[in-house]
């Protein structure tokens, strides 16, 4: 009975799961943009859903259950369904035939490279032995207090930003303004 328990120590399991979920996230992410088998936008969107769900798995490993649940509800459950909705209503046959242009490829690589550079610089700046403060570990009440206490201004600014985007869309979609 104890053989497996000795074989895999308790602390190693989260590490192993991290590599599993990180690998899945990256793999699905690559399949979103460069799927060798299909250039169907719906397939890409479905792989994005899977990438988002694997990312929720990473949050669970960090004991951020609330964040994981919200990630699935908001991104996988709502945003991506709307993506699918729009993709399905578009005429996607043109999109499948379109060739990749060199300019776009260059711009894409440049922006991804910049973000990757920022991440690597950030990783180097962090001390690896520094433990994150466990105050928000899975506790929704504490998370709420932090969001509406210490970080209330950034939180509200982001909400206003989303509101601005929404008002803009409504304004653009109205053909004749009364």
């Amino acid at each position: 009975m104890d053989s497996l328990q000795n074989l895999i120590p308790e602390t190693m399991l989260p590490d192993m799961m991290f590599y599993v979920f990180a690998g899945l996230t990256l793999g699905f992410g690559i399949l979103v943009v460069a799927n060798p088998f299909s250039r169907n936008p719906v397939t890409s969107a479905m792989f994005l859903v899977l990438a988002v769900i694997s990312m929720a798995g990473l949050f669970v490993l960090l004991h951020a259950f609330f964040l994981a649940a919200v990630q699935v509800i908001v991104y996988a459950g709502a945003v991506m369904v709307l993506f699918l909705f729009v993709i399905m209503l578009l005429d996607i046959k043109d999109e499948q035939k379109r060739k990749i242009k060199k300019g776009f490829l260059l711009a894409g690589l440049l922006s991804v490279g910049t973000i990757a550079g920022l991440f690597i610089k950030g990783l180097h700046a962090t001390r690896l032995d520094a433990h994150p403060s466990p105050t928000t570990e899975g506790d929704t009440a504490l998370l709420g207090k932090l969001l509406f206490g210490q970080y209330v201004l950034p939180f509200e600014v982001v909400s206003v930003l989303l509101l601005v985007a929404m008002v803009g869309v409504i304004l653009l979609s109205k053909k004749d303004l009364k």
Binding site: M1, L4, Q5, I8, E10, L13, V42, M46, V49, A56, F65, F66, A69, V70, V72, I73, A76, G77, A78, V81, L82, L84, F85, M88, L89, G138, T140, A141
Partner: protein, 353 residues
């Protein structure tokens, strides 16, 4: 890893999935019988295996009640030719039924269906964000229907899929917001703790009746049941998203729909009607003996069955909504109502504190 935990969890998962599947089969029978009684018909009353007529009274009674009908239905679905129409998108055509069933089964994992039985908590996963988990999984259920509509590669299923994605997203918001007053009152996301609170203070339906009404209507829309079964409105869309499906694949959509119905019945019982507790005969404490543990599970099942009957009864009593009425109801009536409900609950709690 704790071996006890793994073994007991595996047993619980197997039993719960088995019970849910069985309940689906008999919910279909209940649907047919109740619809028959409402329409002054008899309903299924003659399917029986050959040995049934040799059992004195019980055999005839069970046959009359149609108790063997689900078996026959299941066998029929299994042995029908599994036909794949030409021109469908094959991968999605095979994936969609599975995606429709899996979320429905996963939702059941966090619902506490009993107190304690032999030292084991009667819930598969005692998550501290139980409700959020449920909403997360429920929100994934829409993919089964959308992909089914897309896979069919023809107009009517596609329209059904598109409709369902708009409908389910709209009502998910009202559903999520309707639960917030409950969370405000209890102050916990764990479903077991919510039941514990109700055992002490009384059922939450007394504290948040409006929340219950919104939740009930939203769950009708989320499970695609009449009066909100727009995705499969047969008079407008032939058969909706599952027009091109047959045999076991079609049965899987059925299974998904009824499992969703069972899961949302379970959620309503847990959130608003005290779960496995009853306020009298001292049935509101976690069970100390095996017998009281079983009684708790039975109480939960009876409450759930009442909701399933409600689902079925409503389906055969009310006509279908028009699509714009459905959207109007979701966005312009229930959403503001749910927001006001949150505000009022918060103000009352704040004044009391």
């Amino acid at each position: 890893m704790d071996w006890n935990f793994i073994i007991f969890s595996a047993v619980k998962i197997a039993v719960v999935i088995g019970v849910v599947q069985g309940m689906v089969a008999y919910a279909v029978l209940a649907e047919r019988k109740i619809s028959a009684w409402i329409q002054d018909r008899v309903g299924p009353n003659r399917t029986a295996p050959p040995f049934a007529k040799h059992i004195p009274v019980l055999g005839r009674l069970l046959t009359r009640l149609g108790m063997f009908q689900p078996l026959a239905d299941g066998l029929k679905f299994m042995f029908k030719e599994d036909f794949t129409p030409a021109g469908v998108r094959k991968i999605y055509f095979f994936l969609a039924p599975a995606i429709a069933v899996i979320p429905a089964m996963l939702t059941v994992a966090v619902i506490p269906f009993g107190s304690v039985l032999g030292g084991q908590k009667m819930v598969i996963a005692d998550l501290n964000v139980g409700i959020l988990y449920t909403f997360g999984i429920v929100s994934l259920g829409v993919y089964g229907i959308v992909l089914a509509g897309y896979a069919a590669n023809s107009k009517f299923p596609f329209l059904g899929g598109i409709r369902s994605s708009a409908q389910m997203i709209s009502y998910e918001i009202s559903m999520g917001l309707s639960v917030i007053p409950v969370l405000l009152i209890v102050g916990n996301l764990n479903l077991g703790q919510i039941i514990g609170w109700q055992a002490q203070h009384g059922w939450l339906i007394l504290y948040a009746p409006l929340a219950f009404v919104i939740f009930l209507v939203a769950s009708f829309a989320e499970t695609n049941r009449l009066p909100f079964d727009l995705p499969e409105a047969e008079t407008e869309l032939v058969g909706g998203y599952h027009t091109e499906y047959g045999s076991m694949k079609f049965a899987l959509f059925f299974l998904g729909e009824y499992s969703n119905m069972i899961a949302s019945s379970g959620m309503m019982v847990t959130l608003f009607f005290g779960g496995w507790t009853l306020p009298f005969w001292g049935l509101d404490h976690p069970a100390a003996t095996l017998v009281s543990g079983i009684i708790h599970i039975l109480i939960f099942l009876v409450k759930m069955a009442a909701f399933i009957v409600l689902f079925i009864w409503v389906r055969w009593m009310f006509p279908r909504f028009r699509y714009d009425q459905l959207m109007d109801l979701g966005w312009r009536r229930f959403l503001p109502l749910a927001l006001v409900n949150i505000l009022i609950t918060a103000i009352i709690l704040w004044m009391r504190a």
